[in-house]
Amino acid sequence: MSKRVLTSGNEALAEGAIRAGCDCYFGYPITPQNELITYMAVHMPRLKRVFVQAESEVAAINMVYGAAAAGKRAMTSSSSPGISLKQEGISYLAGAELPALIVNVQRAGPGLGSIEPSQSDYWQATRGGGHGGYRVIVLAPYNAQEMHDQPALAFDLADKYRIPVMILSDGQIGQMMEPVVLREESPCPPPKPWALTGAKDRPHNIVRSYLPRAGLLEVHNKRLHAKYAQIEKNEVRAEASDLDDAKIMVVAYGTSARLAGGAIVQARKQGIAAGMLRPITLWPFPTAPIQSCLDRVKAVLVVELSAGQMVEDVRLAVTGKVPVHFFGRVGGGVPSIADVHEKIREVATSL
């Protein structure tokens, strides 16, 4: 076993971002992601990198915009209400095609809600969240190791496609401590010839989302959407387990995927052939991996810590070929493994 350290998901993510070459962190405190900003406050200055506790979430996301425009690997983190405040800035990042990492350690809403874990920001994360019709890549970690590993992937994808990337976690994954194998430092990212680094001896670059001349914005939007199509083609990530002989396919991510995994173990002991498809990218959504199972499975069960948001994408993928069931808790409620197991049994008896 390689050397493991016990760390919270939030701290694992912070250290992962540092090792992924994060140059600048801008944030504003909010539970349940405070360990992340605290870790950055301690370690970024020590490494002579930029840490700013901004005056607000809005300020923080606009600092990310500035640093990203200057070609730096920049990130911010918050929890649900704070992420809502950042949406205007995320829309601007998307419009200006700036790479950036935004971390949402979700808590329950709506409004100020509570600090308990939730997955009720799925729509906000995968539908763009802000105005204007754009996409951000959304990654969904389900343990501390993925919290640690995904910032590197996020920064690489962000640079490759010049797009904001969101890591959509939740309070339980963020707060829970688990053993983590620390990753190597990422190599230096490729140069960014488009960045605003001073135009001495070269033509000047422009970074903007404001394109007021007639027709120009439509061309820009078409190019953005061609890029999104490329991402949908190339960057889908999902993990399949126990699906080869499964009659019931459970689709779940993050904390829900852990619960579903435990429930599937119980169900299998009773002879119920259940398996799981765990989306790792929520956008692009793993439509094809789900569809590839539909000739075998007889029913799909979606488990979320919400009243049902991802289930809509699952239904779009399934296109009515098999029944799609849903189980969820709302407002910070987290089901037990027994609850999810009971739902799997219910689906099994309906077959």
């Binding site: 493991r4 350290v5 016990l6 349940p32 600090i115 339980q172 053993p179 619960l259 429930a263 493994i337």
Partner: protein
């Protein structure tokens, strides 16, 4: 297959998060899967502060402990809240200096009194930690004692000695504890 689920509970400041985390840190050397889940937010500052620890040979689906194998309960509110979850054959270590609980499966350790006799009530959590490990043997004793000493090294030799004595005294009581109907884990 090894699978231990634990709750450590006390009032904020009694150091229950601290020993729960210390156990989890020690356990990653010996168990492939370990989770530690603290309560977070307002609960930390008053009332009951508690954490869930799981050690397992199998992947851990949820860090939340519903029915613990082992509990360490440091005050009366913790006993009131968690003792009803004690199932037959499972163990609760109760700080009998501050809480009354005499049902089957309870091991009473007068942790505050012992810590006071040793010189500082602050070491009561370490007494309980020693007692719990003395009976349950979940991790290596030498490493546990080293971790306890290392955690107080920055406060000077006196603190290290205090914690060592607290751990040893707890271990002695835990090792000797008889508990009818309880299985040794």
């Amino acid at each position: 297959m090894r699978n231990y689920e634990m709750i450590f509970s006390g009032s904020g400041g009694q150091g229950l998060m601290f020993i729960g985390k210390m156990l989890a840190k020690l356990a990653i050397e010996e168990y492939p899967h370990v989770t530690f889940l603290p309560t977070y937010g307002a609960e930390v500052r008053s009332g009951t502060s508690y954490c869930n620890v799981k050690l397992s040979d199998e992947p851990i689906a949820t860090p939340v402990v519903d029915y613990p194998d082992v509990m360490v309960l440091m005050n009366q509110p913790s006993v009131d809240r968690f003792l009803p979850r004690l199932r037959l054959g499972k163990i609760a270590f109760v700080n009998s200096s501050l809480a009354a609980a005499t049902c089957t499966g309870v091991i009473e350790i007068p942790a505050n009194r012992i810590a006071l006799e040793l010189g500082d009530v602050q070491a009561a959590n370490v007494v309980m930690f020693g007692a719990m490990l003395g009976r349950e043997r979940l991790v290596d004793l030498t490493k546990a004692l080293e971790a306890v000493k290392a955690s107080s090294a920055r406060k000077g030799d006196k603190a290290v000695l205090l914690n060592q004595q607290a751990f040893d005294k707890g271990w002695e009581l835990g090792s000797a504890a008889r508990c009818p109907f309880a299985k040794t884990t």
